[in-house]
Symmetry: C2
Subunit: 229 residues, 2 copies
C-alpha cells in the first residue's frame, strides 16, 4: 500500500470512528432524557438522582469528540465532502451536550415536582419525550446514513412537539387558575415540557445540518418556523 493510500484509509477509519462516537453520545443523551421523564412519572427519587449525576460520561464524550474533530481537521486536508461531515460533527456534538443539560434540567424540575402532590396523571409529557427521543435518534441515523429523507421527517415531527407543548400549557393553566396549590408543581411541569421542546429543537438542528452536509443546500431559516408558546 502506498503511503498516500494508507493515509486515506486511516482518515476514513477515523471518520467512521467519529460517527460511531457521536451515535454513542446520542444514545447516552437520549437515555438521560428517557430516564428523567420515567423518574418524573414514577416519582422515583433514586432514579432522579441517577440522572442528575449521570451526565459525566456525556461530558467526557463531548470533549473527546471535539478533540477528534480537531485532529481530523488538523492532520489531514479533508476533501469538501468530508469537511462538511466534520463541521457537522462539531455542531452536532455541541447540540448533544446541551441535550444532556436538558435531561438534567428536567430532572431538577422533577425533584421539585415530587415534593408536591401530583397535579394530574402525566400522559402528554411522556408522549413529548417519546417524540423528542425518536427525533434525536432519527436525526443521528440520518447523519450516519446521509439520509436527507429521514432528516426531513425529523423536521416534520417538530410540529407535533409544539402542539403538545401548547396543549400541556393550556391544560395546566386551567389547573393553576382553579387551585393555587397546583401553581408551583404545575410550573415545573411547564418547564419540563419546554425542556423537551428544546430536545426536539436540537434534533431539528441536527437534521438541518445533515441536509446541508449532504446536499450543501441550506434549509435553515425557512419561513414559518416561529415558536409560539
Amino acid at each position: 500500500m502506498q503511503p498516500a493510500e494508507r493515509h486515506a484509509r486511516h482518515f476514513q477509519a477515523e471518520l467512521e470512528l467519529l460517527k460511531t462516537r457521536l451515535l454513542e453520545m446520542g444514545g447516552l443523551a437520549e437515555e438521560q432524557v428517557r430516564l428523567a421523564v420515567k423518574a418524573l412519572v414514577d416519582r422515583d427519587r433514586d432514579l432522579l438522582q441517577r440522572v442528575l449525576g449521570g451526565d459525566e460520561p456525556l461530558n467526557k464524550l463531548h470533549i473527546e469528540i471535539d478533540g477528534r474533530c480537531f485532529t481530523l481537521l488538523a492532520l489531514n486536508q479533508p476533501r469538501a465532502a468530508d469537511l462538511r461531515v466534520i463541521v457537522a460533527a462539531v455542531k452536532i456534538n455541541t447540540g448533544l451536550e446541551r441535550l444532556g443539560d436538558m435531561a438534567v434540567n428536567s430532572a431538577e424540575a422533577a425533584v421539585r415536582y415530587a415534593q408536591h402532590p401530583p397535579v394530574k396523571r402525566l400522559i402528554d409529557i411522556p408522549r413529548m419525550a417519546t417524540i423528542a427521543q425518536g427525533m434525536v435518534r432519527d436525526a443521528l441515523d440520518a447523519f450516519v446514513r446521509r439520509d436527507t429523507g429521514l432528516a426531513q421527517q425529523v423536521l416534520n415531527e417538530d410540529d407535533k412537539l409544539d402542539a403538545l407543548k401548547t396543549q400541556i400549557f393550556r391544560e395546566l393553566l386551567t389547573y393553576m387558575l382553579q387551585d393555587p396549590a397546583t401553581i408551583e408543581p404545575a410550573l415545573d411541569l411547564i418547564l419540563i415540557s419546554r425542556h423537551l421542546e428544546r430536545v426536539g429543537d436540537h434534533a431539528t438542528n441536527i437534521a438541518e445540518d445533515v441536509i446541508f452536509m449532504v446536499s450543501a443546500r441550506d434549509v435553515r431559516h425557512h419561513a414559518g418556523d416561529d415558536h409560539p408558546i
Copy 2:
C-alpha cells in the same frame, strides 16, 4: 511578493473579516435582546413587532459566516492556532443565531404580557438583560482580542444572572399565589427571565470556547455549574 506569502496574507485578511462579521452579528443579536426587553417595559407593541420581524439580518449573517468558516477550512490548510479560531467561530456563530431566537421568543412572550394589566414594575428583568448583553459583548471582545482574563470575567457574571432569575421566580410566585389574575402574565415574565438566562448561557459558552481556543485548556464541564431554577 511570493505566491505563498500572498496566500498567507489573504488568509489572515479573511480571518480578520470573519472576526469582524462575528462582532457585527453579536451586535445585532445583543440589540435584538435589548429592544425586546425595552419594548416589554414600555409596553410598546410597534417595537415588539420590529423585534419579531428583525431576525432576518441575523439569519443572513449566520449563513454567510458559516460559509466563510467552511471556505477558510477548505481552501487553506490552517495552522493549529488558526484552526482553533475557525472551529471556535463555527460554534460562536451557532450560539449567536440562537441568541437571536431568544430575543424573538422574549418578544413573543412580551406580546402576550402586554394583553394583561402589568403584574409589577419591571426592575430585575431589565437588569438581567443588561448583564446578559454585557456578557455577550465581553465574550466576543475576548474572542477577538484572545483575552482569557475577560473570558473568565464572563464566566463569573453568570452567577449574578442565576441569582436574579431565582429572585424573579420567587417574587412572581407570591403574586400568582395571592391573585390568580396574575398567573398568566407572571408566567410570561418567568419565561422571559429564562430566555435571558439562556442568553447568558450562550455568552458563557463563547467564553469557554475562547479560553479553549487561546490556551487549548478545556474549562468546560467544571464542577458546580448546575442550573437550579
